[in-house]
Each structure stands twice: as C-alpha cells, then as structure tokens.
C-alpha cells in the first residue's frame, strides 16, 4: 500500500502540512488557557489567508504577507474580544458569527485575486545540514514558518510553565472571580490572549494561501480552523501535545493525498473524509476515559466575566 512513497518525503510533507494547524492551535490554546472559548478560528484563519495573500501579492514580499495575515486574524479577533469581553455576548455564538462573517468577507475581498500566484517562500538555507541523508530532507529543508511554528510551541510552553505572565494567564482561566479579587485585570489579560490567538490563526491561514496551496480560492481553509480547535482538546490544553496532534493530523492528510495520487482503489471522496473522521475518533478517545480531557480544561472556559464589585 505504501509502494512508491518515499518516507523522507512523506515526513517532510507532513511537517509542512501541519504548520497551519499548529499555529492556529497554539494560539487557541493560549486563548482557552485564559478561559475564553473562541470558536471563530476558521474565520480568523481564512481572513489571515486572504489578507496575507493580498499583502504578499501587492508588496511582492512573502514575509510582509505573513505579517498581513497575522494582522488580518488579529483584527477579526478584536471584534470577538470586544463582543465577548466588553459587551458580554455569548462566546459560542460570537465564535460562530466570526466564522460565518470571515468566510463571507474573505471571499468578498479576495475575489479579484483568484488564480494569481503569490511570491515564493524559500527554504531557510541551512547549508550542509540540508545535505544530511534522510534527516536533511526531513528536518533541514523547510521555510522559516515551519521553524517558527515549532518555536512558538516551545515559547508558549515555557511562558505558561515558568513565567509570571503564564501563571497569571492560567489563574485568569482557572477562576476569573479569584483573579479579579486579587486585583488582576481579567478583561485586559483576556483581550491580549484573544489578539494573540487571532494573530496566530491569521499566520496559519496565510501559510495555507502562500505556501500550502499556494493561491487564493474561496473557503481555502476547508475546516482547518475546526481541526485546530479539536487539536486543543486532544492536547488537553498542553502545548507539546498540540504539536503531536497536529503532526498526527498532518500525517493523515499527506497519506491520503499520496494514496489519491497513487491511484488507490478507495474513492477520492472517502479518502478526503479521512482527516475529519480520524479527528473525530481521536476526540472520542481523548474525551472518554473518565473525562480525562475535561478535567484539564480551564475551569472558567467559555464563561463571561462581569465584575459585580
């Protein structure tokens, strides 16, 4: 069944395929650790994808494209932040609205960019490392965003674990009332987390339109944002596990694409469903087992905070 598929290429491809999900998931992980459930990841990703694409095409710089993508995602997340943190709107509904709005707005502003090629994002020149057999291919021949995605996981892990900022963030997610009683600015901390989540989702979206595909089409994210949300649950809100989850998902995506290309007897439509079905399966496994995943969830996840004192 694996005949004709080079394992080094496969692993390298899965690392690349996972990047958008890692970026979006690690952003959402921070948001949820602060006690906010933003279901609008898909909307922020696609805004990042279209803003990144337009910026890159009009400036001719892929790097500026990623900056534009992050900004696009962050601006949309700002809407979510204002609605949920200041106007106390229901987080589930607002997240859905973000996705619906993002899908519409992105296709509106992206319509004249369909069919254009974006500027190239080159691999980071790592010199002799890239020539190491097997590992060179797998680890040292990627573009900078790939390395950034892993670095962001490490950074978030370190901040949450070892810094005061991380401690305060976790405290706010655990009990906003207690944090407020101790004088922490719950809303401000949550707004910052939401903006970070938006920027990361936007970055992930930009990676899809600038590297993965690379071009702009409507609905280009194809559920990646929802998968990122599922990965956060899978990871039980722990950064390194999110990386593992994203690689697992990337592996399945790449494998099914390879199977399609290799002319497998399984119909294309069923192969394309595989990543979604596997994600559901993993969710089931993680959430059963005496509610293990649920136990790690930040205690005030999804609850709005209104200081009554």
């Amino acid at each position: 069944m694996f005949g004709g598929i080079d394992p080094a290429l496969l692993i390298a491809a899965l690392i690349v395929a996972s990047v958008p999900i890692i970026l979006a998931a690690i952003g959402e992980l921070v948001v949820e650790r602060a006690g906010v459930l933003n279901l609008g990841v898909e909307g922020m990703m696609i805004m990042g994808a279209v803003c990144g694409f337009i910026t890159a095409v009009s400036t001719g710089s892929a790097f500026l494209g990623f900056v534009g993508g992050a900004l696009g995602g962050a601006v949309l997340s700002l809407v979510f932040g204002v609605l949920t943190q200041f106007l106390l709107a229901n987080q589930v509904a607002t997240g859905l609205a973000l996705t619906l709005f993002g899908l519409g707005l992105s296709s509106l502003i992206g319509q004249s960019y369909v069919g254009i090629k974006p500027p190239l994002t080159d691999a980071v020149p790592l010199g002799p490392f890239a020539d190491i057999p097997f590992f060179g291919r797998v680890l040292f021949s990627h573009d900078w965003v790939v390395y950034l995605s892993v670095a962001s996981v490490a950074a978030v892990w370190w901040v949450l674990r070892a810094t005061r900022m991380g401690l305060i963030l976790r405290a706010v997610g655990e009990s906003h009332d207690a944090a407020h009683a101790l004088g922490y600015k719950v809303r401000r901390i949550r707004m910052l987390a939401i903006l970070f989540g938006g920027a990361m989702a936007g970055l992930g979206g930009a990676y899809i339109s600038l590297v993965r595909v690379p071009q702009w089409t409507d609905g280009i994210t194809a559920g990646a944002g929802w998968i990122a949300l599922a990965i956060v649950v899978f990871a039980s809100w722990r950064p390194w596990r999110a990386l593992v989850g994203a690689y697992l998902f990337g592996g399945i995506t790449v494998l099914q694409l390879n199977l399609q290309a290799a002319g497998s007897r399984i119909p294309v439509e069923y192969l394309s469903s595989a990543p979604y079905l596997i994600t559901i399966l993993v969710l089931v496994i993680m959430s059963s087992g005496r509610g293990k995943a649920a136990l790690n969830a930040p205690a005030s996840l999804g609850q709005n905070f209104h200081a009554s004192r």
């Binding site: 005061r164 401690l167 305060i168 976790r170 405290a171 655990e174 009990s175 009332d177 207690a178 944090a179 407020h180 009683a181 101790l182 004088g183 922490y184 136990l295 930040p298 205690a299």
Partner: protein
C-alpha cells in the same frame, strides 16, 4: 491610614501600603498549587523555589503546616484558609483583614487560628476581624463595631458586654428561639445504609459508607466543615446522584437508583445549599421556579402540558405562607434578596406535604429574622410527622433544632447521637478535630 486619609483604588495599591486580606470566597485557584496561589497574591514574588522555602518557614513559625507543592483543590477547607493566611503573612502586613474566617473550621482549628492571630497582634499587626459569631469576638477582639444594614449602630469593648447584648444590637430586636413541641417518635421514614458514591464535582469529596436513619417527626442535624461531603450527600439524597438501590430507602421503598422526580413522588423533597443556579433558576420567574420542583407532588401538569394557572397559585401560596417579599409571582428569581429567595426555596419544598425533608444550609446568608422563620417552619413540619435531615455548618443552628446529631468528615458520617448532653468538645471531635493538621503533616 497611619493618620493619613486612605482610599485605595485597587487591591494592588492596598497591598502595597501593607493591607492584607483573607477572603471568605473567590481568591484561590483549585488547579494551581499552593506556591503558585501564594505567588499570585504577592506584588513581587521571589522565584518559585525560594518562595516555597519561605512558605515552609513561615507556616512552621506560626503553627500552620502546609506543603507548597500540593494542589489547592485537594486541600481541606481549613488548609485552604492557611494558604490565604500565609499569603498575607509573607507580605509582612500592617493591617490584616479577615472576613468570617472560622466558618470553615472545627472548634479545635479555630483555637489554632486564634493563637496565630494573638501572636501576630503581639508582634504589632493590626487585625480587622469580621464575624457574626459573637463568642469569637468576645474571645479575640479588643474593640468591636457593630453594623446593621450598612450602618454603624454601636461600638463597644466586647469583653465587657454579654453576647446577648451584642446580639440584640446586631439584630435590632429581641430574639425568640423557635418553639418545639414534644412529639412521639414514629417509624423510620428515611433509611440510608452503606451509601458510597464518587463525587461528580471536580476536587469534590466522595461519600464513604454513610449510614443513618430518620424517624417520622425526628430532626437529624448533620454538621461538618465545608467541603467534607455535604453537597454530595444532598445530591445522593435528592436523587441527582444515583447509588445502589438499597442504599437509600424512602418509607421502606428502595430508592437509591431513582431520580429526583421519582423520589419526590415517594415523598422526599430536598433544598440544596446554592439558591441561585441549583435550587432556583436565576432568570426564571417565581412561577417557573415553583414548577421546577413542585411539578410532581402538586400535580401541575396534565399529560405533560403545564397548568400555568395552578402553578401561579402554588407560587402565590408559597409567597403568602412564607412571607416572601416580592412584587409578585412574575419576577425573576435573581431579583429577590438572598433571604427572600431562601424563604421561597425552602417554602416551596415544605409546602409539598413531604414525608422526608432534606435541607443543606437552610439559613446560609439569611438575616436573623428570616432564619428564625425558616427554622420554625422546619420544626413545624417535623411536628406534623415529617422526617427531617438538616445539613449545616452553623453548630448553634443544629443544636437548636435537631433531636440527633452526626458529623461529616472527609465523606464519612459519624454515628448519630442525641443532642441532649452533647458537649462542644465532643462535637469538635466528631467533626474531625484537628484532622486537617495531620493531613498537612503527612503531606511533607
């Protein structure tokens, strides 16, 4: 403060000027450990390892042993309070504010706390101690200010006035203890045997082999420090938490496996501690809240269709009988004051001619007059032949209305004993004595 006008705009500002506060609620994080919780309450905490060492040092100096690496959610109520106190002590406060600190402690733990506070006072810390327990004020304080409805009504030197005088200043009227009718003991109405269930609450306490029985006309008081299984016991009795069929019997009928409504049909009603969100839905009207638990015994539906007229009449009846102050039946539950809503919730259960009544914290956060009315209503139902279980952290209340007394301790219930002739030391031992200290020591 220190002669200067003082109005801190933010908690952090107050902390900087040397004010530390031990809160009654809302200031600990269950999923974080002791050291992290302490760090969050400090302006500029030292690195974690150094902080842990200081926590150990201070906690031993003041006789409040605590392991910095334990998860706060796993601590007993008394130990949680130690976390708060140590958090304050590490900041070397000039003024320490404590709000009802003993409500979560056994009598023995209260004594340890008082020793710590006296030591602090000797070392030059001013202590502002807020409590409604007058004997504590008399035992601890040098000066007392009495507040009623947000106004200062008197100041006094507590050692020189009697508790009764202070109580009357506090309430503004002379209190009448509830009247009790002598009654013959009936047959057993509620029997609990070998009740063991895991807690559905995160960081909750599982119930372990609970057994007791309550006869018709009897009031069983169950004491215990908060967090020792009171909520779980109420859930297991009300039917929200299922157990083995024979673990709970209502009027002889096996009921452990039944849900709340089938238990109501069998004659058991329950009133949980938390009024808003558990006993009542905050945004629903009183009529809707009357339906919430009254639907079965009051027959408020016909083939599933709600008889709103009858429901409204039921709500109006509760309001009238229990003197609930509200503009009407179509008011949201959250609009009522705590005491009025408690009267409504308790009234709703007592108005259903139950044969078994289970109540958790019947008068928590209720003013003295309303509390007296609620206690009287409970005793009236007992006199009419209902079996009553009252779970409470207010020992005075339990001693006043119970026939028999038992205590919950880490999910286990002591054997019930008649209230008559029970000494406060014996009660303290039943509640677990200084068990919290042992746990803390083992934690090292």
């Amino acid at each position: 403060m220190r002669g200067a006008p003082y109005a801190p705009a933010q908690p952090a500002e107050a902390r900087r000027s040397g004010v530390a506060m031990v809160f009654q609620h809302f200031s600990l994080f269950d999923a974080l450990n002791v050291a992290e919780n302490v760090a969050l309450g400090m302006e500029t905490p030292p690195p974690m390892q150094e902080l842990s060492a200081r926590i150990k040092a201070v906690s031993e100096e003041y006789g409040l042993p605590l392991d910095p690496s334990r998860m706060v959610g796993d601590l007993s109520a008394g130990e949680r309070q130690r976390v708060e106190i140590i958090r304050c002590l590490l900041q070397d406060p000039k003024l320490l504010i404590m709000d009802e600190p003993t409500s979560v402690l056994t009598p023995q733990e209260v004594e340890i706390l008082f020793q710590t506070l006296r030591q602090l006072a000797r070392e030059g810390t001013a202590i502002l101690y807020i409590s409604h327990k007058l004997e504590e004020i008399r035992a601890l304080c040098d000066e007392a200010t009495i507040l009623r409805r947000g106004k200062v009504v008197a100041t006094c030197t507590p050692r020189e006035v009697s508790a009764r005088e202070m109580a009357e200043l506090m309430v503004g009227a002379t209190l009448t203890p509830p009247a009790r009718a002598d009654k013959p003991k009936g047959e057993v109405a509620l029997e609990v045997a070998g009740l063991s269930v895991a807690s559905p609450i995160p960081f909750g306490t599982s119930l372990k082999d609970i057994r007791f029985s309550v006869a018709k006309g009897e009031v069983l008081g169950i004491a215990g420090v908060a967090g020792n299984g009171q909520d779980e016991l109420l859930l297991a009795l009300s039917g929200e938490l299922r157990s083995a069929p024979a673990a709970v019997r209502i009027n002889g009928q096996e009921a452990g496996h039944l849900g709340p409504n089938t238990r109501r049909a069998a004659g058991l009603v329950a009133a949980p501690e938390e009024r808003l969100g558990h006993a009542a839905a905050p945004d629903m009207t009183l009529t809707e809240n009357a339906l919430l638990s009254g639907v079965v015994r009051k027959g408020l539906t016909r083939q599933g269709f709600i008889d709103w007229g009858a429901t409204r009449r039921f709500a109006a009846e509760i309001i009238r009988t229990f003197d609930v102050r509200t503009p009407g039946t179509e008011v949201a539950a959250r609009a009522l004051s705590g005491g009025n809503l408690q009267k409504f919730v308790v009234g709703r259960e007592l108005s259903q001619t139950p044969s078994v009544i289970v109540i958790n914290q019947p008068t928590w956060g209720v003013d003295a007059a309303a509390a007296a009315a609620i206690r009287q209503a409970i005793l009236d139902r007992a006199a009419e032949g209902a079996a009553v279980v009252v779970i409470s952290q207010d020992l005075d209340e339990l001693l006043e209305i119970s026939d028999n007394f038992a205590a919950l301790n880490e999910g286990r219930l002591t054997a019930p004993r008649p209230v008559q002739g029970l000494s406060i030391e014996e009660i303290g031992l039943m509640m677990g004595g200084a068990h919290g200290m042992e746990v803390a020591h083992h934690g090292h």
